[in-house]
């Protein structure tokens, strides 16, 4: 039997625990909200600036809702004669699309070779693949530049595209290999009995089953080429060949110190970010999968 006093004491303890939990919950939500505010406010700030009149940008404290809302900033950012963003956009799309395609094609084929075929030297070469992951790109930067110069490829898109058709980089090969190893081996045997050749096996059986790996690789490859800065910076000279990253830099350079036209710069930057953000909202799953494959299984 529980005495009356005991019950009251227990209620009190119960209440304390519950109050403690409530307090912990509330402070958790408060910390999360504050953090979310700090993580999102730069985006809001960017959009707000991008839609302001030049005069309203330099107001302090800032006005968050632009008066009037100036969509024309996007048009103006696009129609500068010193920074033709239409051309930059086209160039970036051409480079990104061709490079992503080559990277997926060649990394998946090489990954297939490492995951599904048995051949002399395979495991040693795979160690070499992993070792190149550790090699910083700076070590080969200068000689590759010299090579491109000898080939006469400077100021063309080729240095930003061709290397990705040759293997596509260790990270992507690794990603495809890891995924393709999880596909049951019986499929290969069955295909072989049906008289399937190696390339047929790759193109008709393994690749179609590697959808998630393709999606993840496509996203990371897209991000890398879309945002690439040092590659275009080194290899592209004429403005008509510039990418969006270099275009932003011209726009920045024209402002000079102090009279930077931040509304135009933010409009252009937002435009460059937008495809990435859209992609993120539609394919968040694959973003996370890619990072986790690299981080936990790696």
């Amino acid at each position: 039997m529980v005495t009356g006093v005991g019950t009251a004491a227990r209620h009190q303890v119960d209440f304390r625990i519950r109050a403690g939990r409530l307090l912990a919950r509330t402070s958790l939500y408060m910390v999360l909200s504050l953090g979310a505010f700090l993580f999102l406010v730069p985006f809001v700030w960017m959009v707000s600036t991008a839609l302001k009149e030049a005069g309203d940008v330099m107001k302090f404290p800032p006005e968050w809702i632009p008066q009037p809302v100036l969509w024309g900033n996007f048009v103006e950012a696009f129609t500068q004669d010193y920074a033709p963003f239409g051309i930059f956009f086209k160039n970036t799309i051409v480079i990104t699309a061709t490079a992503v395609f080559g990277q997926l094609l060649s990394a998946s084929l090489v990954g297939f070779s490492f995951a599904r075929l048995r051949w002399w030297g395979r495991d040693y070469l795979f160690l070499v693949v992993l070792a190149t992951m550790m090699l910083p790109y700076q070590v080969t930067l200068v000689p590759v530049f010299v090579l491109m110069k000898v080939l006469g490829w400077i100021d063309s898109f080729l240095p930003l595209i061709v290397p990705f058709y040759l293997g596509g980089g260790a990270f992507y090969i690794f990603l495809f290999r890891q995924f393709m190893m999880t596909i049951p081996l019986e499929l290969d045997d069955a295909a072989r009995i049906d008289g399937c050749g190696t390339l047929w096996l790759y193109a008709r059986i393994i690749l179609p089953l590697s959808g998630p790996a393709l999606a993840t690789a496509a996203i990371f490859s897209f991000l890398a080429h879309w945002n690439d800065f040092i590659g275009p910076l080194i290899y592209l000279n004429s403005v008509s060949n510039y990418t969006l990253s270099l275009g932003l830099r011209i726009l920045q350079g024209y402002g000079g110190y102090g009279i930077q036209r931040w509304n135009l710069l933010m409009a252009a930057s937002l435009f460059v970010m937008l495809p990435v953000l859209l992609l993120f909202f539609f394919a968040q799953k694959y973003f996370i999968q890619g990072i986790v494959t690299y981080g936990v299984k790696g």
Binding site: L28, L32, G35, A36, F39, L40, V41, P42, F43, W45, M46, T49, F60, P61, P62, S106, V110, F112, S113, L117, R118, W119, G121, R122, V129, L135, Q138, V139, T140, L141, V142, P143, L147, K149, P163, L166, G167, G168, N227, D228, F229, I230, I234, R249, Q252, W262, M266, S269, V272, M273, V276, L277, F280, Q284, F287, I288, I291, V292, G295, V296
Partner: protein
């Protein structure tokens, strides 16, 4: 007939090599070959318009004795890495702990924190340059709300590097996601067992969570370190190394030597120093990890 038999034996190997050949070719042409050339260039003076001239170890001597910017760029890069990388780990881990609880709209919270880490490059650098504008920027407006008169950030030799570190924390969502995956891999039974043994939440955190997630901490540490030591775009766009060389990162120095002053030989020597630095730092972290990283297999193996 003999040829046919031999071919049948060789064929699967040939197919394997053939499928891997794009990478093998790429490795030879764009990695191994350039590495060897890079060693050679680092021992020459090579202004690009004239062929390389052998100078032996002179580039390395120049680096240590005469290059005014070399040690400063090492110092800036090291300082950035030493502050930014641990901050990333702690913040990423804390955020992962919070977002691994049972809370409402968990997917939405995670998206919010993850989102900034997917954008990168020049656009982000410009955004943060504007945020850190000393007169009209967001940073000083926020500080003003809590009564702090903000510094002049990118224009101040003291505050430019901290500004770049704060900016880098905006992208902490990537390591947070890896930490969440790590936390979800910790078997629930361990927590239950620890609770039965009478441990409190703090003890469970230090004796269950931290050891079980330590391999993930190691991974994030190494990846973060390598990335930090190669920092380039932000510094190039936002400060161009200034003010007073306070953000003159190693990679900026390398870029200037190679592509501004066309000192290809010297830039190659710098690249090898960077490589050695990254390698030594990584090996040091890995060696030290035997003291603090816990692998489940070690106990299972006993």
């Amino acid at each position: 007939m003999h040829k046919g038999k031999l071919w049948r034996r060789i064929r699967p190997h040939a197919a394997g090599w053939l499928c891997a050949s794009p990478w093998i070719l790429g490795f030879l042409v764009f990695t191994l070959g350039p590495m060897i050339w890079s060693i050679y260039y680092s021992l020459t003076e090579y202004p690009l318009i004239r062929p390389p001239v052998w100078v032996g170890l002179d580039n390395y001597r120049f680096m240590l004795q005469e290059d005014k910017f070399f040690f400063n760029s090492l110092r800036v890069t090291t300082l950035y890495a030493i502050v930014a990388v641990p901050l990333h780990l702690v913040m990423g881990f804390l955020m992962a702990l919070m977002l691994n609880q049972k809370i409402r709209y968990i997917a939405l919270w995670r998206t919010v924190y993850f989102l900034p880490s997917v954008v990168s490059g020049v656009a982000v650098a410009l955004l943060w340059q504007w945020i850190f504008n000393s007169d009209f920027g967001l940073a000083n407006w926020l500080l003003g709300l809590v009564g702090i008169d903000g510094p002049s950030w990118l224009l101040s030799p003291t505050w430019a590097l901290p500004a770049l570190i704060i900016m880098s924390l905006w992208g902490v969502g990537g390591s947070m996601v890896i930490f969440i995956a790590g936390l979800q891999g910790v078997p629930q039974a361990l927590y239950e067992a620890a609770e039965i043994d009478g441990s409190n939440a703090v003890q469970r955190f230090w004796h269950v969570t931290v050891p079980m997630v330590s391999p993930v901490i190691l991974f994030n540490l190494i990846i973060g370190l390598i990335a930090a030591l190669q920092t380039f775009t932000q510094a190039f766009i936002m400060t161009a190394g200034g003010p007073k060389q306070s953000t003159h990162f190693f990679m900026l120095h390398l870029y200037n030597n190679a592509f501004q002053w066309l000192k290809m030989g010297y830039a190659s020597a710098l690249a090898w120093v960077l490589f050695a630095y990254i390698l030594i730092a990584t090996l040091f972290v890995i060696r030290s990890s035997s003291l603090w990283v816990f692998y489940e297999g070690e106990i299972k193996g006993r």
